[in-house]
Symmetry: C2
Subunit: 331 residues, 2 copies
């Protein structure tokens, strides 16, 4: 849950809750990817909670295992964004009617597989037989022993960095919906996988606090989430559109599009990337290159932090324009 300056229905609701219901320091004003408990022994316990529903965050016909896996990974991505090491999670499962034995088995196996992959254990929850599409809510807990990575802290003169590639999640959704059919099977499989099984950047997040000034994970779309970092630092994030990292599959899609500028912006506005976006001082470039090597994860410098507000997009023709708030909101 996070509030920001964009006072649409969803954000206005969260802002109202932050003012009235979440005034304790542990809530961090509902402005971060999670909450923090300062435990007596110097460690910090980070808590994040995200809910997913079939047909909203996954395809309507996604299996119980896919929904559970994506729910767990979305939460792990929030832990990564705060530099936390995953420890435990609780899951509440709202089945769509009474589940079949096989569905329960598929869900259980998906959770067990991802638990082992990411080093997190189930400790509790609830399971109900609901009406409507299946929904899963997860609360994940992680430990931070060093400094906490937050959304606030971007400084004028910082570089802006992003992990991995941008737009794959959004393209994967298009592929899954049958709206994108011109790509080869290798590309379509890759993109669907990126949409269905996001990879939380835990190793990067855990090492990022020592080099970055601020970070978050990109779930609403690069532009919307860059706007959050700009708001958190009272500054402007200038992004170089030509430098946004893209996968080979995204490049293949892009070269087919008539309006290149519009297509690039669509990739930057689409959600479900689950990459980390962060800013760091310019003297950290060597450290960040080493971090990229250590984690085996591409890290791309995509812009800089300047005076101002919001997000500016620099185009190939040298023009600079203010990005609209084109990210995903629920209402």
């Amino acid at each position: 849950m996070s509030s920001n300056s964009k006072q649409s229905g969803e954000f206005a609701f969260i802002a109202a809750l932050a003012n009235k219901a979440a005034t304790t320091p542990e809530a961090l004003g509902l402005g971060e990817d999670g909450a923090v408990l300062w435990i007596g022994d110097g460690r910090k316990l980070v808590l994040v909670a995200d809910m997913l529903q079939a047909g909203v965050h996954t395809m309507k016909d996604a299996s119980a295992g896919q929904i559970a896996s994506k729910a767990l990974r979305a939460n792990l991505s929030d832990l990564a964004a705060m530099g936390a090491e995953p420890a435990f999670y609780l899951s509440t499962i709202c089945w769509s009617g009474a589940p079949a034995e096989l569905e329960m088995q598929i869900l259980s196996e998906a959770l067990v597989k991802d638990q082992e992959k990411f080093g997190i254990s189930l400790i509790g929850g609830d399971t109900i037989c609901g009406q409507g599409p299946m929904a899963i809510s997860i609360t994940a807990l992680g430990w931070v022993s060093g400094p906490l990575l937050r959304r606030i802290g971007a400084q004028i003169g910082d570089d802006v960095w992003v992990s991995g590639t941008i737009g794959d999640g959004w393209l994967g959704l298009g592929v899954a919906k049958g709206e994108i059919s011109s790509l080869n099977s290798g590309d379509t499989e890759y993109l669907k996988e990126r949409y269905e099984y996001p990879e939380p950047r835990l190793a990067l997040g855990a090492r990022l606090a020592s080099v970055a000034h601020c970070a978050l994970d990109i779930s609403d779309g690069l532009i919307a989430d860059a706007t959050h970092l700009a708001g958190g630092g009272d500054c402007c994030l200038c992004l170089d559109v030509e430098r946004i990292p893209m996968s080979a599959a995204a490049h293949h899609w892009l070269r087919e599009q008539k309006n290149q500028a519009q297509a690039r912006e669509a990739l930057m506005a689409g959600g479900d990337d689950y990459e980390l976006l962060f800013t760091a001082a310019a003297d950290q470039r060597v450290q960040i290159a080493m971090l990229s090597k250590e984690t085996g994860l591409e890290l791309t410098r995509i812009g800089c932090v300047q005076k101002g507000q919001g997000v500016m997009l620099g185009k190939a023709d040298g023009t600079l324009h203010l990005a609209g708030n084109s990210g995903f909101t629920h209402f």
Copy 2:
């Protein structure tokens, strides 16, 4: 989430998760009302998670405020059952379509009101615009500084105790559904209130660890939950049907029923009581009477713990028979 010996679909699923996914000590085998983190400084952090959906746990036309309030109170009841003092909660809200401003305001006000009443603060969560009826999942956190109250620990010779009155939640649902219409307006208002706004027994729970051997909160129904305590102690809970405490409204309903024995058992099987059920050594009776006075809450000795398994019901005619597993399960 809790597993028990009743291997219906829901419990079998939880048992499978407990064996494969929740093997860490903090999970307590998914057999309790919550999980426990042993924090370095000797305190314990208890975590509980329950999800509610409109039309399943509330009336279909319940307001967003009623659903949120009941979700929070159900979680607080789980904290009470483990003897934890409420501290923080995270909520994930799945709206039924895009919410109106007024709905958001009503939900926010309901949470703020209950937060203040029960001493708990919102620290995070998520809000989505879903399909299907509204659902709210809450993860609540509480502190325990003394011993932990658990479901295991019933001992042969213990007394069995229950707080408050039994059956009101179930009758309240009947009233709300229009299935019970013969009661006066005072009774119907009282019963509906009991169904819609359960009162978590926090003050009792916090003091219970020093006198009780085990405890849980009654959400599935007295008989089903007594079966959990019997399973946790490998013993039999013998309950005296005539001693089950009932409200004046429940008595009014009962005297109209043709089959008294069946009606009494219906009250004992109905869910949504959110009272605490516990066992304690016979030498604790004076302490428990004092506890009742301190908390202003009726505590009734309703039976004893004997060798055997499951729950036996002692009737007015002196007969004793094994209770069926008539509590609420989701699937």
